[in-house]
């Protein structure tokens, strides 16, 4: 038995209390962080989930095949250009309201359809030319105000003059919804389209592809350079002023505001090398420059974490320093390097400022198909949408944020997974 005198008991109690307090503080701060994160995600989720649906209107349409097919029976783009698709859509739409005859009323009725509905119709027939000459039923996009009203996001308490929909238009929408002529359906265009002026046809795909192309360049550019630099600094650089200077500056580089890398890209890649504006190639290079210090710092740390005895063993067998590094140290450091790289990539994925400088903020309706075609990236797309006047863009930017966060979570889980998988024990 250990004899405890009063004094010792007192001190024991004090120590236990202090430990308890520390634990409580820790739990409190973690909970606080989690609550804030949850609040953020929930509020974004609440404003973004409705973008998963979109208001569509059911139309009965019959298009004469002679208007669009060429002699061989194929779809002729030239002929299709001459067809008034918008007219076909509005005529069919207006048949739902036979009582309306006044020109001004017809015009405000037509405004309820998306101005891209005609284009959607044309796309449909281009894909399904067999449906020409048939009476078909097709769901086409309604306008964004229509969409917002159906989702209950249209503010009707405002004075009618200041609203984008008149009371008459609201009544029509109510009627269409009641008759099941218009409906909220899954918003496919968000996932298959690039940007658009009309929120109802704007999609994230262009930005996702743009981000993917950009990050591909980033990793191809940054990873080899950073790993080579770390190996050099760890194994070959002679300690001295120059090495110290380089070290300090790599750490400084990691702390430089990202927009500076954009300015650098603008003057060097665009100005000096004359690379194309708005291209993932240039964006990737800028983000790569930004990521290199992060990867170097992570790589050096994990190279240093490999026991020196492994390197000594290789050297004592007559391996050159290069061989010791490539054959033994790098494979063991790889999990750490990978983790650092993925974290750097995640940072690059969320970066906007440098991309703004090199023109990846342009309005681009085509999904990019090469490293040199004009593109945007996800965070830039979010930035542009959240800046738009239409309410419908606001919910889309929230959904896009969820998308981006999803990507980040996937990348970070990948980092954890790779680390677990390739970590070797010795």
């Amino acid at each position: 038995m250990i004899d405890k005198n009063i004094d010792q008991l007192k001190r024991l109690k004090l120590r236990k209390n202090a430990e308890m307090r520390l634990k409580v503080y820790g739990i409190l701060s973690i909970s606080l962080a989690l609550i804030m994160l949850a609040t953020l995600m929930i509020s974004i989720g609440l404003s973004g989930y409705s973008a998963l649906q979109q208001a569509y209107v059911k139309l009965e349409i019959n298009v004469d095949s002679k208007k669009v097919l060429d002699e061989k029976g194929g779809f002729s783009n030239q002929k299709a250009l001459l067809v008034n698709w918008d007219g076909i859509v509005s005529n069919s739409f207006i048949t739902n309201f036979p009582e309306i005859t006044k020109r001004s009323e017809k015009r405000s009725l037509r405004a309820l359809m998306s101005s891209n509905a005609g284009y959607e119709l044309r796309q449909y027939f281009q894909k399904n030319p067999d449906d020409l000459d048939e009476n078909i039923t097709i769901w086409l996009s309604a306008s964004d105000d229509f969409d917002q009203y159906m989702k209950g996001r249209f503010n009707t308490s405002v004075d009618e003059k200041d609203r984008r929909l008149s009371n008459q238009q609201l009544k029509w929408i109510d009627f269409l919804a009641m008759e099941k002529i218009s409906k909220l359906k899954f918003n496919t265009s968000f996932f298959v389209n690039a940007d658009s002026r009309e929120p109802e046809s704007a999609g994230i795909l262009g930005a996702v592809v743009g981000s993917t192309l950009t990050l591909t360049i980033t990793i191809l550019f940054a990873l080899p350079l950073a790993v080579m630099a770390s190996v050099y600094l760890e194994y070959f650089a002679k300690p001295g002023r120059l090495t110290d200077f380089i070290e300090v500056n790599i750490n400084n580089l990691a702390a430089i505001p990202s927009i500076v890398f954009g300015l650098l890209g603008l003057s060097v890649f665009l100005g000096f090398f004359g690379l194309p504006r708005s291209a993932p190639l240039v964006g990737g290079l800028c983000l790569g420059l930004m990521t290199i210090p992060t990867i170097i710092i992570a790589s050096r740390a994990s190279i240093r974490a490999v026991p020196p005895s492994i390197k000594d063993a290789a050297l004592a067998l007559g391996a050159s320093r290069m061989q010791a590094a490539l054959h033994h140290v790098l494979p063991l450091a790889a999990p750490g390097i990978l983790t650092g790289t993925i974290i750097g990539m995640a940072q690059a994925l969320g970066e906007t400022a440098p991309l703004l400088m090199i023109g990846m903020v342009a309005f681009i309706i085509e999904t990019p198909d090469s490293f040199t075609s004009a593109a945007t990236a996800m965070p830039v797309q979010i930035f542009m949408w959240s800046d738009s006047a239409e309410r419908a863009f606001y919910e889309r930017s929230s959904l896009a944020i969820l998308f981006l966060v999803g990507f980040l979570i996937i990348m970070n889980s990948l980092a954890v997974f790779l680390r677990r998988k390739f970590e070797k024990k010795w």
Partner: protein, 257 residues
Amino acid sequence: MVDKKNNLKFKTKNVSVFYGSKQAINKISLDIEEKQITALIGPSGCGKSTFLRCLNRMNDVISNCSVNGKILLDGNNIYSDEIDPVLLRAKVGMVFQKPNPFPKSIFENIAYGPRIHGIGNNRAELTDLVHHSLEQAGLIDEVKDRLDDIATGLSGGQQQRICIARAIAVNPDVILMDEPCSALDPIATAKIEELMSSLSKSYTIIIVTHSMQQAGRVSQKTAFFHMGDLIEYGETPKIFTQPDQQKTQDYITGRFG
């Protein structure tokens, strides 16, 4: 006095080593005979490891380390510009205090050295070489069925013998051992000592040890270091029974160290 019937392997002349401005060993002149075991003993920090690392130029890796004096291997100065440390280390192998097998398979551990030196060009030759090296290291019976297992999963003594086999595989002339048994239990130690005696028929072995008994059991010659100086060097039995120097006497009788 050089014993005439044995050839000299290493001859060092006035070797001093500095770490920065701090001197670690001071003007060591020592002749090491071929196919014998030479033991280096002395209190901790006296420069045994430093001296040993000079012999295969592992000191080159330490950035602030500088070596003065001459070290001749078979009459050639190993610190001259013509000598490539990489080739030197293929001739002068090393076994470290803590077993340090690569975290790879047993086979890969042994085959690595031959591979980088272009010995054993095809798989069959390499397999032969691996088996032969493991046999020499007295390990073949224990591991022949699991050459693909990871070497770091073996016991400490087995790992150390893997390291010895790995050093043998590149066919060196000399094997340097820096306290090879200090991380091992007595049985594993006995095995390694046995192994050293059998290896000394074909290799020159230089061993640093803290165990006086070990030096007495395995070595033919012993050098006693103290504070960077070589105090005494001679036949092992003589050093342990009637040393010339008082300091040696004090050390081996355990009065300091």
